[in-house]
């Protein structure tokens, strides 16, 4: 059924190569988007829990704005609207970027800003789940707020939220398909082009689906492994099954969910 993948497409390359090229864009977008999202989300998530009111409010605004606008709308905003709002020269420069990049960068910004808002909420939840005594003990030892976060709170919070960060990794990976709406030839877009050229809709999207699933599984395994590795010795008794282990909530003693 997938023999169509070995047929030659209109540009002389095999359809399978089309899919792989789409996969390349999907993965680049997901990979770079994720690390940007993680970095921004970490900062914003911390920002939501600090004493400084201004920082806390700004972080809150960030989260509410980027989390509550549909990804598709955000994609259009970054692609069509933002270049118009920028100074003319910069806007023109953006609009004249050569084909894949002209869509790739807006998509990257869109997905990472959106995912960052979600990561920020996870980071905040992780920080708030830590017992108040951790912050107090660090303060009592004379650590500044900044060092308290960096050395005591964040390392623990991140360990707690590995399972929910896994969902966010999956999320950005799946949301890359929205980039087809602004013309990025990622995996879904390539599948659609194959189906349009060959009318083999089932084969084209079937192959794309399998690729999505396999990679999701790989990402899930990777995160389970990270979760395993990051576990603090002497905390949770290992759950019996591996899948349960990832889902098991491992809060330090005295933590409230």
């Amino acid at each position: 059924m997938f023999t169509v993948l070995f047929d030659q497409g209109s540009d002389g390359r095999m359809y399978g190569v089309w899919l792989l090229s789409g996969l390349g864009w999907t993965l680049s977008l997901a990979f770079f988007g994720w690390w940007l999202a993680f970095a921004i989300g970490l900062v914003v998530g911390i920002g939501r829990t600090v004493e400084n009111r201004t920082i806390a409010i700004l972080s809150r605004v960030y989260v509410e704005v980027f989390r509550n606008i549909p990804v598709l709308v955000q994609m259009f905003l970054w692609y069509f609207v933002v270049p118009e709002l920028l100074p003319a020269s910069l806007g023109t420069w953006i609009k004249q970027m050569p084909p894949p990049w002209g869509a790739f960068f807006p998509a990257l910004v869109c997905l990472s800003f959106y995912t960052a808002a979600r990561v920020a909420e996870q980071v905040r939840a992780g920080l708030e789940a830590l017992p108040a005594g951790q912050r107090e003990a660090a303060a009592a030892l004379g650590l500044t707020e900044r060092r308290t976060y960096w050395l005591v709170l964040v390392p623990q919070a991140l360990r707690l939220i590995v399972p929910s960060l896994t969902s966010e990794v999956m999320g950005i990976y799946k949301n890359t398909s929205v980039a087809l709406t602004i013309g990025l030839l990622e995996l879904t877009a390539e599948a659609r082009q194959i189906s349009e050229e060959t009318f083999q809709t089932f084969a084209a999207f079937g192959a794309a689906t399998i690729i999505y699933l396999m990679l999701a599984l790989a990402a899930y395994q990777l995160m389970s492994w990270i979760d395993e590795r990051a576990r603090i010795p002497g905390t949770a008794p290992p759950a019996r099954r591996k899948s349960l282990r990832l889902l098991a909530r491992r809060l330090p003693e005295g933590a409230s969910p």
Partner: protein, 259 residues
């Protein structure tokens, strides 16, 4: 000496000056008065035991001493630093005041040794080598040097609390605060922690300790402070407090803790 003069930070604590001074300290949680005009002085080298019924404000008081809680009225001077909103570097004051909590509050993601080295290196700027030596010194003193490489979750409660004491001592504090350090422990582990504290008091550490361990109070206290409803009701030497408490509320309290 006139205690109403704000002590300049740079002057450093003179030996004759009390380690801790509280004058008319009042604290509210919303409309609830948790501390009601508390006056208290702790001399250098003194061991003061604070006791009183649940909810009497003991934890609130001790947490105000390193400004983990802020007081609303009155003055608190610790080690020559007045604790006010204007105080720029509260972290610097806290470095001179060690605190031990009921729930240990060790950092679970760090080994015992790392727990003891973290603040000396990160807050005091001491070299890792020196911090390690200091940490091992105090871990030996609380008699668990062999656990240095383990994580807190791998230790018993009594061991964890002794690490918490060692961790605080690694900052070389002038004053140690204890808030019910043995209340979360199984009975068989209480003694090992109390023994550590007895040793500390014997070395002349200034200590303020909230505890219901009246035998321990009798043994180490220079003074027992009895609190009720956010106020200091009476304070006396342990001999007099335990044999002839002045107030009816203290007599009632003692009847309950020393059945």
């Amino acid at each position: 000496m006139n205690m109403h003069l704000p002590t300049p930070r740079l002057a450093g604590p003179a030996q004759a000056e009390p380690a801790i001074v509280l004058e008319g300290v009042t604290k509210f949680y919303g409309g609830f008065r948790a501390l009601n005009h508390v006056d208290l002085e702790v001399a250098r080298g003194e061991t003061v035991i604070i006791c009183g019924p649940s909810g009497s404000g003991k934890s609130t008081l001790i947490r105000c001493l390193n400004r983990i809680e802020t007081h609303d009225r009155g003055r608190i001077v610790v080690n020559g630093h007045e604790l006010t909103d204007a105080l720029k570097d509260i972290a610097a004051v806290r470095r001179e005041v060690g605190m031990v909590f009921q729930s240990f509050n060790l950092f679970p993601h760090l080994t015992i040794l790392e727990n003891c080295m973290l603040a000396p290196v990160q807050a005091r700027g001491i070299s890792r080598r020196e911090a390690r030596e200091t940490a091992m010194h105090f871990l030996s003193k609380v008699r668990i040097p062999d656990q240095a490489g383990k994580y807190p979750g791998q230790l018993s409660g009594g061991q964890q609390q002794r690490v918490a004491i060692a961790r605080a001592l690694c900052m070389r504090p002038q004053v140690m605060l204890f808030d019910e350090p043995t209340s979360a422990l199984d009975p068989e582990m209480v003694k090992e922690v109390l023994d550590t504290m007895v040793g500390l008091a014997g070395e002349g550490m200034t200590m303020v300790c909230v505890t219901h361990e009246m035998g321990f109070a009798r043994e180490v206290a220079d003074r027992v402070v009895f609190m009720d409803k956010g106020a200091v009701v009476e304070q006396d030497t342990p001999e007099r407090f335990f044999s002839a408490p002045a107030s009816e509320r203290a007599r009632e309290f003692l009847r309950q803790v020393i059945h």
